[in-house]
């Protein structure tokens, strides 16, 4: 995902702000990492450049 996606993303549970933690990126985008909601204490993983913003019960 591109970094500027952070401007429009929010926690799918509480709509609060997210904290980005990058573990791998290239010149174009973030490849892996997490988005963390401190209010819900929930991590949303970024895998192969795709943020998974599904609430845990839909994630499978």
């Amino acid at each position: 995902m591109k970094k500027d996606l952070m401007d429009i993303l929010a926690c799918p549970i509480c709509k609060g702000d997210l904290v980005l933690n990058i573990t791998k990126e290239d010149e174009k985008e973030i490849i892996s990492g997490t988005l963390y909601c401190s209010k819900c204490n929930e991590y949303f993983p970024i895998t192969d450049g795709i943020p998974n913003m599904l609430p845990p019960e839909l994630r499978e």
């Binding site: 995902m1 429009i8 795709i50 913003m53 609430p55």
Partner: protein, 202 residues
Amino acid sequence: MVTITYRDADIELDENVYDPAEDSYLLADVAIDVAQDGMHVLEVGAGTGFVSAVLQTNVDVDLVATEISPFAAECAKRNSVEVIRADMFGCFGSDTKFDLILFNPPYLPTAEDEKIPGWLNYAFDGGIDGREAVDRFLEEFPPYLSDGGIILVLISSLTGIDKVKMHMQGRGLDVEVCNIDRDCFFEELIVLKGTFKASEQL
């Protein structure tokens, strides 16, 4: 891996994802007509990413897409679509606005015993009356559409075009029928274009 080319966009398909068909081509064509350079565009339920990929190849838009299926999200990503795994609008902050929102919903009337296992069911299953997904979309879109923004919704005659049209009008949209696909024998496909009048925003 099967790749198709449409309006200068190359789209890779995936066996676990609904293949682009007449509905996808129709929505892509109308989206290219309606979109303007610089617009912020959202496609809900991108599937292979066909509509988004064709649109961003032909118009200089700033596009993101949501998709619930992991297979479809990966396929859309391979097709250079900025995709987020999310349930419709679930991932967006409350002040996020788009100028154009595209939706090719699962619209086939589907009984319990007609459901198919796995993620592919999301591509077809419109609930008993075919309008479950489109009705939910119409309930949820208003906070995410800018003043004067446009939604394009693909609908089949199997889904009840008049009922969807009335629902859209009830959500503060001016509705027009954008295009009619004449090549389908078992159903009529149309794109409903809804324009948000700022003064009537909910």
